[in-house]
Amino acid sequence: MTSVTDAPPLRPLTEPAVRRDIQPEKVLSVRGIKKSIRGKMIIHDVSFDVRAGEIFGFLGPNGSGKTTTIRMLVDLIKPTAGAIEIGGFNVHRHPEEALRHVGCIVENPEVYSYMSGWENLEHFARMQPGIGRDRIDEVVAIVGLEQRIHDKVKTYSLGMRQRLGIAQALLGRPKLLILDEPTNGLDPKGIKELREFIRSLAGQGMSLFISSHLLSEIQLMCDRVAIISHGRVRAVGTVDELVAQAGSYVVWQFDQTEAGRRLLAEEGVRLVANDEHQIEEGILAPMKEPIVAQMPAGRIQDLVEKAVRVGIGIRSVQHVAPTLEELFLRMTEGESIG
C-alpha cells in the first residue's frame, strides 16, 4: 500500500475456500430499485443478488449510478421504489437487523481524524452489542495496524486509513462486506495485497461486494459481476459466462504472413483488422505480424493441417479471450471507461 513502510502487509487468512459453491443462500438481494433525486431519475432499474461466500463485482463507469446504488444498500439513501434485503431484512424498514451483518466503506474510508485509530474502533464497537476489546485487538491484527493504532488518524497515510476502514468494517463479524472502489489511491503492491486479503475473507465464507470502474480489478478479483450503466444493470453473471458471451479470438503467426492470410480467407475465416479488435496491446505487441481471426476454436486443428499441407509454416496459434472491456463497450455503447 502507498507509503506504508512501517506496517506489515495485509495478512491473507489461511482457511481454504471450501464452502463457496455449496451455499446458494442470498446474502443481499436487490429487487428493481429506482431512485430519483430532485425530480431527475438517477437509478432506473437495478436488480441483482449476492450469494454467501462470493466476491461480487459491481462494474460501471463514473456517474453510472454505482455510488448511489451502494448508498442505498446501506441505508444512506432511500430508494424511490424497489426493495433491498440483507439477510432477509429490508434495509430501510429494519436497518438495525439488516445492517448488523454488514460492514462497509462508502467511497473513502472516512474516520475521525482527531482520534486515534484505536479510539475510532472503540467508537464503532460501541455502536453494536457484543464487540469487546478482544475483537478490536483481533481486527487490528488482521489489518496489521498494531504499531500505529494509538496514533492520531490525521498522521495516517491513505493506505493506513484504508486498513483502519476495513478493520472498522470487520468489527461486527459481517456476513457481507461492501467496499466502494477499494483500490483507489493504492500502489500496485497495495492492490495486490488487498486482492489477496479479499480472497482470504471470501475463503472464510464472507460475501464481498466490490465496486470498481476498473475492469481488470473486477476480472481478477470477482466470481460474479453486475455491469451498470446509465442507472441500469446491463448484465449479471459469472465472469466466465460474460467473457464467453463476448466471443473469442484466435491469433495466428505464419512464416509466410501473406500466404497464411490468403489461406484463412479462402477457408471462410473472418479476419479482424488491427483497429477493430479489443485485445490488449500487451498481448499482440511482442508478436511478429499477428493475424487476428474470429472463428470457432474447433476449427483450429483442421486449419493447421491445411496450412501444413500447402507448405505454410506455422509459428504459433493462440486462443485469446477478450477482456470485459469489449463486452462492456458493446453493452454501454461506447461509454468511456478507465
Binding site: 448508498r71 444512506l76 474516520v111 482527531y114 467508537h123 455502536m127
Partner: protein, 328 residues
C-alpha cells in the same frame, strides 16, 4: 434504551476529543480576567469617591432622578430609571448592599450579563458542529451505516449536547469565581439578594419581594441560563441539520441571536417581536427585577416562547435527520 448510553458516550468523547470544550474554557480564561480588571477599576474609583456603599447607592439614585427630571429623556428610559430607583431604594431602606464587592457578586453579574450573547456563542461552538461536522468530514457515512436507527443517533447527540451545555454553565461559574476571587475575595455566598419585584406596571410592586442568599440565587440563575442556552443549542442543532455547513450554521445562529439583542433594545414599539426567541433569552432579568424589553413579557411567557422554539427545533431536526438522503 440500554444501547443509547454507549452512543451518548461516543458523542461525549467526540466533542471532548475534538477539543471544542477546550476552546470554550480558553475563551473564558481569556475573557474573565479582562472583565474582572474592568470591574476592579470601577470598584477602585468608587472606593475613592464614596465613603461606603450607601453613599454610592444614593449617588446612583440621584443620578437616575436627575435624568427623570430632564425633558429630553424618552419616557421609556425614564420608566427603566424609575424602576431602578425604586429597587435601589428598597435595598437602601433595608440597609442591604445591592452589590457587595466579592467574587460571587461579580460572577452573578458576569453570568447574567452574558446570557444574551456570550453563552449563545459558547454553546454554538459545540452545537453547530454536531451534525454538520460529521457531514463535512464524511464520517456521517460511517455513523449512519451502523446498525443503529437514525433517531437514536440524533438523540444521543442531543443528550451529549445537553451535558456540555451544563458543563459550560457550571465551568463558567467556577472559572469566574476562581479568577475574580483573586481580586475581590472568595466571599459573598451568604449575601442576601432581593428577588420578586413586579415591574410590569409603571411602579415597582414589591409585595412579593423576598431575600435569597446569594448561593441559592446563583443556582437559580444558572438554571435559567441553562434553559435559554439549551434553546439556543437545539435551534443550532436544527440549523446544522438543515444547512449542512458548520460555518453557515454558526453565522445564521449568531445573526438570529444578535437580531434578538438589537430588537430587545429598540423594539418596544413593535410588540410582535416578543415572539422571537432571542428577545426572550435573558431569563435572569425576571429574577433581578429588570423590566422586560417589550410590554407583556413575563417569565411564563418567555419560558413558553423558548419552549415552543425548542420543541419545533427538535421535531424538525428529527424529521429531517431520519428521512434525509446522505448524498455528499
Amino acid at each position: 434504551m440500554d444501547r443509547l448510553l454507549p452512543l451518548v458516550q461516543n458523542e461525549t468523547l467526540k466533542i471532548w476529543r475534538k477539543k471544542r470544550f477546550y476552546v470554550v474554557v480558553l475563551v473564558l480564561i481569556i475573557l474573565i480576567p479582562i472583565f474582572t480588571y474592568a470591574q476592579m477599576r470601577i470598584s477602585q474609583t468608587n472606593a475613592q469617591n464614596f465613603k461606603d456603599w450607601r453613599n454610592q447607592v444614593m449617588n446612583q439614585i440621584n443620578d437616575y432622578q436627575s435624568t427623570l427630571a430632564s425633558d429630553s429623556v424618552p419616557e421609556e428610559w425614564k420608566r427603566y430609571r424609575r424602576i431602578a430607583v425604586q429597587q435601589l431604594q428598597y435595598y437602601l431602606d433595608r440597609d442591604v448592599n445591592p452589590s457587595t464587592p466579592d467574587a460571587i457578586t461579580f460572577t452573578r453579574g458576569f453570568m447574567s450579563g452574558s446570557v444574551t450573547l456570550f453563552y449563545p456563542l459558547l454553546v454554538l461552538a459545540i452545537a453547530s458542529d454536531l451534525v454538520s461536522g460529521e457531514r463535512t468530514t464524511g464520517t456521517i457515512k460511517m455513523l449512519l451505516t451502523r446498525p443503529v436507527r437514525r433517531w437514536k443517533i440524533l438523540l444521543s447527540k442531543i443528550l451529549a449536547m445537553m451535558l456540555y451545555v451544563s458543563l459550560i454553565v457550571v465551568t463558567s461559574f467556577v472559572l469566574c469565581y476562581l479568577i475574580s476571587g483573586v481580586f475581590f475575595g472568595y466571599e459573598g455566598w451568604d449575601a442576601p439578594v432581593f428577588t420578586g419585584f413586579d415591574v410590569s406596571g409603571a411602579q415597582v410592586d414589591s409585595t412579593n419581594v423576598h431575600a435569597i442568599p446569594q448561593w441559592q440565587y446563583m443556582i437559580m440563575q444558572g438554571g435559567l441560563i441553562w434553559f435559554s442556552s439549551m434553546t439556543v443549542a437545539l435551534l443550532a442543532l436544527m440549523v446544522s441539520v438543515l444547512l449542512r455547513g458548520t460555518a453557515a450554521s454558526i453565522v445564521t445562529m449568531m445573526a438570529a441571536v444578535i437580531t434578538g439583542t438589537i430588537l430587545g433594545n429598540m423594539a418596544s414599539s413593535w410588540e410582535s417581536a416578543k415572539y422571537f426567541f432571542s428577545v426572550n433569552l435573558d431569563l435572569t432579568m425576571y429574577m433581578n427585577g429588570s423590566p422586560p424589553p417589550i410590554a407583556g413579557m413575563s417569565l411564563p411567557f418567555s419560558l413558553t416562547v423558548l419552549a415552543i422554539w425548542a420543541a419545533i427545533s427538535i421535531v424538525v431536526s428529527f424529521l429531517v435527520f431520519t428521512k434525509q438522503d446522505i448524498l455528499n
